[in-house]
Symmetry: C2
Subunit: 338 residues, 2 copies
Amino acid sequence: MTQNPPPLSAEKATIEDVARAAGVSRWTVARAFKTNASVSSKTRAKVLGAAKEIGYLPDLQAASLGANQSNLVALLVDDFKNPHKLLLIEQVSQTLRDHGWDSLLINTGGAQDTNAALLTASQRRVDAAILLGVHFNDAVLDTAVGAERVKKLIVFARSSKHPRTLSICVDDAAAMAIVADHVLAQGYQRPLFLAGPQTGSAHLHRQETFVQQWFEATGDAPHSLEVPVYDSALSYTEISKYLAESKSYPDVIVCENDALALGAMDAIRLSAGLSVPDDIAVTGFDDVPQAGFAQYQLTTYQQPIKEMAEHLVKLLRGEAQAKDRYDFSGTLIERSST
Amino acid sequence: MTQNPPPLSAEKATIEDVARAAGVSRWTVARAFKTNASVSSKTRAKVLGAAKEIGYLPDLQAASLGANQSNLVALLVDDFKNPHKLLLIEQVSQTLRDHGWDSLLINTGGAQDTNAALLTASQRRVDAAILLGVHFNDAVLDTAVGAERVKKLIVFARSSKHPRTLSICVDDAAAMAIVADHVLAQGYQRPLFLAGPQTGSAHLHRQETFVQQWFEATGDAPHSLEVPVYDSALSYTEISKYLAESKSYPDVIVCENDALALGAMDAIRLSAGLSVPDDIAVTGFDDVPQAGFAQYQLTTYQQPIKEMAEHLVKLLRGEAQAKDRYDFSGTLIERSST
DNA sequence: AAATATCTTGCACATGGGTGCAAAAGCGAT
DNA sequence: ATCGCTTTTGCACCCATGTGCAAGATATTT
């Protein structure tokens, strides 16, 4: 057995130490670190030099006590089965960091207790809580005391009509209309819509849009199937069962997102022994990395996550209009699954 | 355009408000919230009642200023291409939360500046920084001033010999030996080892273990291929190229992890037109969800992430031995890719 | 050179709660 | 009722910084 790690390094320097080293008051040091503060450039240079010398960096927690801003943002995530979450988490955390915010990741998947997560966020003095998940619907937010304790509530990549909430998402209806157009243009006739959890009002409008669009174009109501989690494995099971049980099969499965689409493709090929897209075509939504793999080549709709994350920053800064929703538009990525 | 969200809720109650409401001093309130504090049970009940009444919850940031503990832990992640990260992030954040810690997610992927990430962590007063990534090698940590400012440095699912660091990981060598045994037992004869980035000393020992093991058993040195990122798409490209260029192909590709293995399987089937496992078998490492999909059915090694996360909590609490490494053992999941 | 305007800098007070000790209160025994 | 001990409670001081104002220093004007 090896020994313990060496003891901690010397105490971290405080603003007071810098003040002493630079021969000024601590308030002057604080100013030197603040842009647009009234300090003579000579003093600032002296202070910053001293600070660098003794390795001073301001304590962000202490700073957020005094100030009414913490530069901390909570990311509430409840849905780790969906690989799209990794993209969202990566992009949002990176963009926030690039602009000076840190991310408090709160996993609400286990207890699924949104309220507790929001309370924790407020106890950490976050400037905002970003909701990245499927269970943050308006009913939950209504009953969550925690929702009122957080300065800003932002639903990302999903839409919400809750009055306390701001949404950053693609225009789901418009996006799904594009998918529907594509499916119609390809001449498919017997669609099946595969939906995920339908969670109250803070949900996606993909299913209803597709159904409506299809009905308007053809006069038929497409079949639908719902699974309770955005999980490829679950989608595989359900589609396998569906294909085994029904006498005729659809010629296209339109999925609410890629997580479901990937499982559906596996089911079509490996469980039902059919081919994609010849027997059954498939469409997805999100353009997760796997959608582009040789194995899948899934036709899907790509959301402009980066752009959306930049908009998030603007909202946090108060630069953007505080509209309840801000709709972005993405791109249909046509691959060989249709 | 809709109007702005309603104004913020009333100011959050402070300990002082509770004290007033309960008719005691604020220190008594603090005690009521602390287990093992000397308060009469009558007083505690009165205080907690009053706190509940006015909706008081302690401010964690303020608390961490006075105390020498923040209950905040930084998660440094640099590698979002690998789906295994989602598993790790989920499990670690959930387990930490279950035990009272919050997670500060720091994405070091963009700038790849580990030092900056560690500095940020220290500015947020984290109790520990958990390193979940590939680029946190000893050389980097040696030159990172930030490494010294963080109370504890814990490398998760990877091993490090850096003196400031504690590792929580499976015994890589033992695990890869099991994989090697399996491959040998199945009678494969021309292995190719597909490795990821070889990052200094805080790396995995899978490649060297396999090579050595194979050599000892057969007297041959297996071929190897390296890719700079754990990315299925990259693995696909490299394996495609490799199979196209070489006259003979291996009969098994042993991959350093599943991210690489999945891409390799796609390449074997779709680029080279060969079959798995008949022409070429494949093994992975990590048991990501996709490894179990019908499409892949990848033989892989599953790490006991949950158990490792629980051990992490013990380390944070100071309950566990501070060994430099703590080795767990996982399970070989045999599927039909071998 | 004096008066005035402007820029710098210092300070009191605030943020929300932790620590350790001392004072106060409770309690049983004498 | 008094003494001594234990439990409970209050308090001074500390954590590291922000805000807004006033005092001090410098520059500009007359």
